[in-house]
C-alpha cells in the first residue's frame, strides 16, 4: 500500500507529470520536474498515513483526506455485495481493492472502496462483511460453513462466442477517435506516406483496397475481442456457499464479486443475435443493491445457453421460469412488430420508386433496398417469435427482442409497483406494455405488448396486493 498509492498517484497524474517535464526543459532547470514528482509521491504517502478503516458491530467506517478530512460510514446491515478488484500492480504486491456496495448507489459517486488491503486478509474480511454477523463470529463462521460448490467454470470453448461481439470494432473506433483527437490524422493527410498509400490504392483499384481494408479491420476487431474476452473472463469461476454467491474472473486484473443470495430477485438470460446464432447466452443477476446493467451484475459471459440456463435454474430453483413455455401475445402484438420493422423499408421503396420516375436509379441502390427489406422481414419475424410472458409459481417471466433478446425472470414477491402504458397506437391495437417495478436490477422490467384485457390479470397473478386491491373486478369470460 505504501508503494501503490504513490505509483497510482503518479500514473493518474500523467498529464501533470508531462507538464512538469515540459516546464523543466523549458526553464532549463530539471529541478522543477523532480520537485513535482517528489510532491506527488509525498502526497501519495500522506494519503496512506491518513487513511484508516474500522469495522465495528454496526457499521464499517473509512476516514481519509490529507487536507480535508472525510469520514464515510456504511451500516453493515445495508451491505448488499462485496467485490474486489486487483490490478496488475496490486497483484504483484499481493494487494487488493475491496469495494462495498449498498442498496442506494449514488450516480457518479465512487462508492465505498478500501484501496489496497493485503490479499490474505481479504477472504476473512469479505466473509465478515457479507455475513452480517459481529466480528467475533468470524473465526468460527468461516471454517464451519458448508463446502463451496462450483456452479460454472470458464471453458476455452467459450471463446467462440467472443468474436461475435462488437467490442473489438468499438475498441478500434475508440482508438481511432483518440488518435484523430490528437491531430495525428490531420498531420498524416499531407505526409508523403499518405500520398504513397493513395497512389498504391489507385494502382490496386478502389474496390480491392476497400475490401482489403474492411477485412483487415474485421480481423483486427475479432482478434481484439478474443484477446479481451480471454483476459477478462479467463479462469472465471462461479461458486456458491450457502447463501453467498462468489464470482471470480480475470487473468491479469483479477476481479471477485460476492453477492448475498438473499438479495437475489431473479436473473436475465441475454442472447444477442450473433451469440444466439451459435447457441450461446449470457447471464445477468437481478439483485437489489447491484446495478442491473453493465459489468456489476454479470454472472456469466457469453457461454453455451445450456450452461446459462442450468446455472440460473440452480440459483432460483425454478425450472419452469428459466426454460418453461411462454404465453404468446397474440396477433395484434405480431402485427405491430411487422408494421414497425417494415415502415422504414416501405418508405425506402416509395422514395426509390419516386426517384426512378424522374431519374435513373443505380442498380446497387435496388440491391441495398432488397437487403434492407430482407433484414426488416427477418427482424419482424424474429421479434414476434420472441414475444411472450409467463406468470405463476411466484415468478414473472418476460421475453422480447431480436438483436438483443432477453428473458427476464423476476421473483413476483420483489415487485413493488405496476405500470400499464399505452401509446395512441397501442390503444388502437388493443395492447399495453406492462412494467413491473422492483428495487433490483434495472428497476423496471417490461412485458411488451400484452393484450390490453390480459394486462391486469398478469399483474394480479404475480402480485396478490393487486388482486386484492379496491379496484379489481373479476370479469366473466376466461
Amino acid at each position: 500500500m505504501l508503494l501503490v498509492h504513490p505509483v497510482h498517484e503518479v500514473l493518474g497524474q500523467v498529464p501533470l507529470l508531462i507538464g512538469a517535464v515540459v516546464l523543466g526543459t523549458a526553464t532549463g532547470n530539471a529541478m522543477w520536474s523532480v520537485a513535482v514528482l517528489v510532491l506527488m509521491i509525498v502526497y501519495g504517502l500522506a494519503r496512506w498515513f491518513t487513511t484508516t478503516y474500522r469495522i465495528d458491530a454496526e457499521q464499517i467506517q473509512r476516514r481519509e483526506g490529507v487536507l480535508q478530512r472525510s469520514v464515510l460510514s456504511v451500516p453493515r446491515n445495508r451491505i448488499r455485495s462485496v467485490s474486489t478488484d486487483a490490478r496488475v500492480l496490486h497483484r504483484l504486491l499481493g494487494l487488493t481493492v475491496v469495494k462495498v456496495s449498498t442498496g442506494q448507489e449514488a450516480k457518479g459517486d465512487a462508492g465505498f472502496a478500501l484501496d489496497a488491503i493485503r490479499s490474505d486478509e481479504v477472504p476473512a474480511l469479505r466473509a465478515l462483511l457479507i455475513a452480517d454477523s459481529p466480528p467475533d463470529a468470524l473465526e468460527a463462521g468461516v471454517e464451519a460453513s458448508a463446502p463451496e460448490r462450483v456452479l460454472a467454470r470458464w471453458q476455452p470453448s467459450w471463446l467462440r462466442y467472443s468474436p461475435l461481439s462488437f467490442t473489438g470494432l468499438a475498441t478500434i473506433a475508440a482508438a481511432f477517435g483518440v488518435i484523430y483527437q490528437t491531430g495525428a490524422v490531420a498531420a498524416l493527410e499531407d505526409s508523403p506516406l499518405a500520398r504513397q498509400g493513395l497512389d498504391a490504392a489507385e494502382r490496386f483499384g478502389v474496390v480491392a483496397t476497400v475490401v482489403v481494408a474492411v477485412l483487415f479491420v474485421l480481423t483486427l476487431g475479432v482478434m481484439l475481442s478474443v484477446v479481451r474476452s480471454l483476459i477478462t473472463f479467463g479462469n472465471l469461476v462461479l461458486s456458491r456457499r450457502d447463501e453467498v454467491l462468489h464470482l471470480q474472473h480475470g487473468l491479469l486484473r483479477v476481479r471477485e464479486h460476492t453477492y448475498d443470495m438473499r438479495r437475489l430477485r431473479g436473473g436475465t438470460i441475454r442472447q444477442p443475435l450473433l451469440v444466439r446464432a451459435f447457441g450461446g447466452a449470457r447471464l445477468d443477476a437481478v439483485m437489489t443493491g447491484v446495478d442491473g446493467a453493465g459489468e456489476a451484475s454479470l454472472l456469466l459471459p457469453p457461454c453455451p445457453s445450456a450452461t446459462a440456463e442450468s446455472v440460473l435454474t440452480e440459483l432460483i430453483g425454478q425450472q419452469d421460469a428459466v426454460t418453461g413455455a411462454l404465453r404468446h401475445h397474440g396477433p395484434a402484438a405480431t402485427r405491430r412488430r411487422w408494421t414497425r420493422a417494415l415502415t422504414f423499408p416501405a418508405l425506402l421503396v416509395v422514395g426509390l420508386g419516386t426517384t426512378a420516375v424522374v431519374a435513373t436509379v443505380p442498380a446497387w441502390a435496388w440491391v441495398l433496398c432488397g437487403v434492407v427489406i430482407a433484414a426488416g422481414v427477418f427482424l419482424a419475424a424474429d421479434r414476434s417469435r420472441a414475444l411472450g410472458h409467463r406468470v405463476g409459481d411466484g415468478w414473472l417471466v418476460a421475453r422480447s427482442g431480436s438483436l438483443d433478446r432477453r428473458r427476464d425472470c423476476l421473483e413476483a414477491a420483489g415487485i413493488i409497483g405496476w405500470t400499464a402504458r399505452q401509446t395512441l397506437f397501442q390503444r388502437r391495437a388493443g395492447v399495453a406494455t406492462l412494467i413491473a417495478a422492483t428495487p433490483a436490477g434495472v428497476k423496471g422490467y417490461r412485458v411488451l405488448d400484452v393484450p390490453a384485457d390480459l394486462a391486469w390479470s398478469v399483474a394480479a397473478a404475480a402480485s396478490p396486493w393487486v388482486a386484492d386491491c379496491d379496484w379489481t373486478r373479476e370479469t366473466a369470460h376466461s
Binding site: 413493488i416 409497483g417 400499464a420 395512441l424 417495478a437 394480479a460 397473478a461 386491491c469 379496484w471 373479476e474
Partner: protein, 161 residues
C-alpha cells in the same frame, strides 16, 4: 380474467387552465420572436407562412387540446392498500403501488401552481421505475393525501426493499 376499474378522483378543476398557461408561455415567446423576425425581414413570405402555420398547430395542440385531453384522462385514488393513478394524453399510463412499500411522500409546488393553489404529490418506492405522481391537485387535497399516506405507510420501520 381481472380488470382494474379507473381510479375515482379527478385533478383540480383549475388543472387544465394551469397546464394551458404553462404551455402557452413558451409558445407565446416563439410567436413574439416570429413577429419580430417578420418586422425586421419581411422577404421570403412563404417561410413566414410555414412558420406561422406550425406555431398555430403547436398552440392548438399543446395549449388547447393537450390540457383538456389530460384532464379527461387524469384520475387518482388512494385505497386502503395501494395508490393508483391514471395519467397522460397521447401516451397513457395506469400505475399502482402498494402503500406498504412507500418510502417517501413529497409535495411539490411550482411557481405557476402556487399562483393557482395547486400541488403535486410524488410517492416514491424503492424502485426508481415505481414512483407514483399525482399532479395538479388542490393544495389542501395534496396536503391531506400526503399526511394520510405518511400515516398509513408508517415510514421508517423497515427498509422496504
Amino acid at each position: 380474467m381481472v380488470t382494474l376499474v379507473d381510479p375515482a378522483n379527478p385533478p383540480s378543476r383549475k388543472a387544465p387552465l394551469v397546464w394551458a398557461i404553462g404551455a402557452a408561455i413558451p409558445w407565446a415567446m416563439l410567436a413574439v420572436a416570429q413577429v419580430v423576425w417578420f418586422v425586421l425581414d419581411a422577404r421570403l413570405g412563404w417561410l413566414h407562412a410555414v412558420a406561422a402555420a406550425a406555431t398555430v398547430v403547436g398552440v392548438v395542440t399543446f395549449v388547447v387540446v393537450a390540457p383538456l385531453w389530460r384532464y379527461r384522462v387524469h384520475r387518482w385514488e388512494v385505497g386502503a392498500q395501494a395508490v393508483y393513478t391514471r395519467s397522460g394524453w397521447l401516451v397513457q399510463e395506469r400505475r399502482i403501488a402498494p402503500i406498504s412499500r412507500v418510502q417517501t411522500v413529497d409535495t411539490h409546488r411550482g411557481p405557476l401552481a402556487r399562483l393557482f393553489g395547486l400541488a403535486d404529490v410524488t410517492v416514491t418506492t424503492a424502485s426508481s421505475a415505481g414512483a407514483v405522481r399525482i399532479v395538479a391537485l388542490d393544495s389542501e387535497v395534496a396536503d391531506r393525501i400526503a399526511a394520510q399516506l405518511t400515516d398509513i405507510a408508517a415510514i421508517g420501520d423497515r427498509d422496504a426493499t
